[in-house]
């Protein structure tokens, strides 16, 4: 595969060396003179100097024959533009963009850059997963599908404790996926009875969280 990487920071440089080892053809674009000089010692002709949001820089790097464009600069606007231009102007099939500030995620989604990766959002999700006081934990965002998968624990005071899934008045935009009890997970079906201590996974449309919480979680005293 021919892979074009915009941004030669730690992420971009490590990606480039790994992809090269895997046998892919790679071009790394870096816009900072000093950083470019350091990268050039390591990567030689693989790295090129230039602003990846300039169309002629992309063209000289052969964007038109790229199978994949990865935008991992430290600037979210630049990452959006690199992917949008690669996709819309040069017909690149796949783009991956780094989101530096999670608040910019909606902008990436709006433009439709393709896949996005955000270290901050990922770490935040992990922290939430580790913190028991966060009752409803987001496990996965399916941006393209506009769905998310969440996990939560059934507590003793929960209105759902002791009831079967069928009898719950779940929001229409949600479904329970599985129930984990004593370390064993089972698919949630209508007969599944929820008990205190159960870990439940659910899939829902963004926005239905509050309604789901009302049905499944204890009201704080």
């Amino acid at each position: 595969m021919y892979i074009l990487i915009a941004g030669g920071g730690k992420v971009g440089a490590n990606l480039a060396s790994t992809l090269l080892k895997m046998g892919h053809e790679v071009t790394l674009l870096e816009n900072d003179r000093e950083r470019y000089a350091r990268l050039e010692e390591r990567f030689e002709h693989v790295v090129r100097y230039g602003d990846a949001t300039e169309l002629f820089v992309l063209e000289r790097a052969g964007v038109e024959r790229a199978d994949l464009v990865v935008a991992v600069t430290g600037d979210d606007e630049d990452n959006v533009i690199v992917c949008q231009v690669a996709k819309e102007k040069y017909g690149v099939a796949k783009c991956i963009a780094r989101v530096n500030d999670p608040r910019n995620q909606p902008h990436f989604d709006m433009v439709g850059v393709g896949l996005t990766v955000s270290a901050t959002a990922t770490i935040l999700a992990l922290i939430e997963h580790e913190l028991p006081e966060h009752q409803l934990v987001k496990l996965l965002d399916l941006h393209r599908e506009n769905l998310e998968i969440v996990e939560f624990a059934i507590e003793a005071g929960s209105p759902a404790a002791g009831r079967s899934v069928r009898d719950l008045n779940l929001p229409s935009k949600s479904r329970l996926i599985s129930v984990t009890r004593d370390g064993r997970a089972e698919i949630a079906i209508g007969d599944t009875e929820l008990r205190p201590g159960d870990l439940v996974m659910a899939i829902l449309e963004p926005g239905a969280e509050d309604e789901l919480k009302r049905v499944l979680m204890a009201v704080p005293a």
């Binding site: 949001t53 300039e54 169309l55 002629f56 600037d75 979210d76 606007e77 630049d78 959006v80 533009i81 231009v85 819309e88 102007k89 608040r103 910019n104 909606p106 902008h107 709006m110 433009v111």
Partner: protein, 138 residues
């Protein structure tokens, strides 16, 4: 008309002044609070400090009911992203975007953005000034 201007540099501030002189309701956003100094002290519009990509700032500035938005920060890519947010997400009826790079200005025009490229204007004007000069050497 309710007008939102993002970026209060030479272009943004001058436009803001002209827009209020013309009787419009103008709000200006700039990251730098000092940018307000470009406008007269009795300027009747509203100034908000913040980043134009911050949706909360845009909403605070009234983008949801704006009739027009002018995006004129000093970053082409920032302008292009903000303009798309204004146009696609907030459905602002008229969005004008300053883009200094002629290539990006041209491409984003094909994607439906109203881009204005000062660089192209300078190139055309300079070319005409020299080549249309009747006194030039043949």
């Amino acid at each position: 008309m309710k007008v939102l201007i993002v970026g209060c540099g030479r272009v943004g501030s001058a436009l803001a002044l002209r827009m209020t002189d013309d009787g419009n309701d103008v709000t200006v956003i700039d990251e730098d609070p000092e940018a307000l100094a470009r406008l007269p002290e009795d300027w009747p519009g509203r100034f908000l400090q913040g980043h134009g990509l911050d949706t909360d700032v845009l909403i605070d500035a009234g983008i949801e009911s704006a009739d027009a938005a002018i995006i004129a920060t000093d970053g082409d890519n920032t302008n292009i992203v903000i303009a798309q947010v204004a146009q696609k997400r907030f459905n602002v009826p008229c969005v004008v975007t300053r883009v200094l790079d002629p290539a990006r200005a041209k491409f984003y025009k094909t994607l439906g953005l109203q881009t204005i490229c000062a660089t192209s204007a300078v190139i055309d004007t300079a070319f005409q000034a020299i080549c249309d000069n009747p006194g030039r050497a043949a």
